[in-house]
């Protein structure tokens, strides 16, 4: 069965600094990968997704992610973090049976310091 690991439970970044959130997946075939963001008290919002093609994908709010098959990784990056980016971030992989359901990582909480 597929699985997702987000090694960092919390990350603190200074405002204006760069950000990288790690995501490793376990999957037997070509994975469909997603990054979602959850602001406090809110539902999840899609940041970006990868299905095939260019391994560097651009998302909303200035985020990007790079798919590296050799490392089974799909890390999320942003060159300059804003205080409004403070939230919880979830990486997810679509199921290998029909791609309809998602398996989520446990999330990484991003704290932004002034």
């Amino acid at each position: 069965a597929q699985s997702v690991t987000q090694p960092d439970i919390h990350i603190t970044v200074s405002e204006g600094a760069s950000l990288e959130l790690r995501c490793n997946y376990s999957y037997g075939a070509t994975p469909y990968l997603f990054w979602y963001v959850q602001s406090p008290g809110q539902g999840l919002q899609l940041l970006l997704k990868y299905f095939s093609g260019d391994t560097l994908v651009q998302g909303i709010k200035g985020f990007e992610a790079e798919f590296k098959r050799s490392q089974s990784s799909f890390n999320l990056r942003k060159p300059s973090v804003h205080w409004s980016d403070a939230a919880e971030y979830f990486c997810a992989v679509a199921s290998n049976s029909g791609y309809s359901t998602l398996t989520f990582g446990k999330g990484t909480m991003l704290l932004v310091s002034p």
Partner: protein, 113 residues
């Protein structure tokens, strides 16, 4: 407003009571999902539905019942609530097709005393 809504947003109940959480979407998405979110566990899939009258178990279905008589509604029932079901519940929906993402509702915070 179009979108996906959940009700109630907050619910406190007692052990052994039946509770139903509602989910409604206006996009005519064929797929709908129920997740629970717990600290340290991320989101875990409870049940999902590919269309009206078609439902299937997810990772943590025990203690929950779902139905889907209409495309737009996907209620989740806890037939006899337990304290371990205290959680935040999210409903989501998506169009059929591999490349389509899930859209999430705002969540229902359920406390079982």
């Amino acid at each position: 407003d179009a979108g996906i809504t959940q009700s109630p947003r907050y619910k406190i109940t007692e052990t052994g009571r039946q509770v139903t959480l509602m989910c409604h979407q206006t996009w005519s998405h064929s797929y709908m999902f129920w997740y629970r979110q717990d600290l340290g566990h991320g989101l875990r899939l409870i049940y999902y539905s590919a269309a009206a009258d078609i439902t299937d178990k997810g990772e943590v279905p025990d203690g929950y019942v779902v139905s889907r008589s209409k495309t737009e509604n996907f209620p989740l029932t806890l037939e006899s609530a337990t304290r371990s079901q205290t959680s935040v519940y999210f409903c989501a929906s998506k169009l059929a097709g591999d490349y389509n993402e899930q859209f999430f509702g705002p969540g229902t915070r359920l406390t079982v005393l």
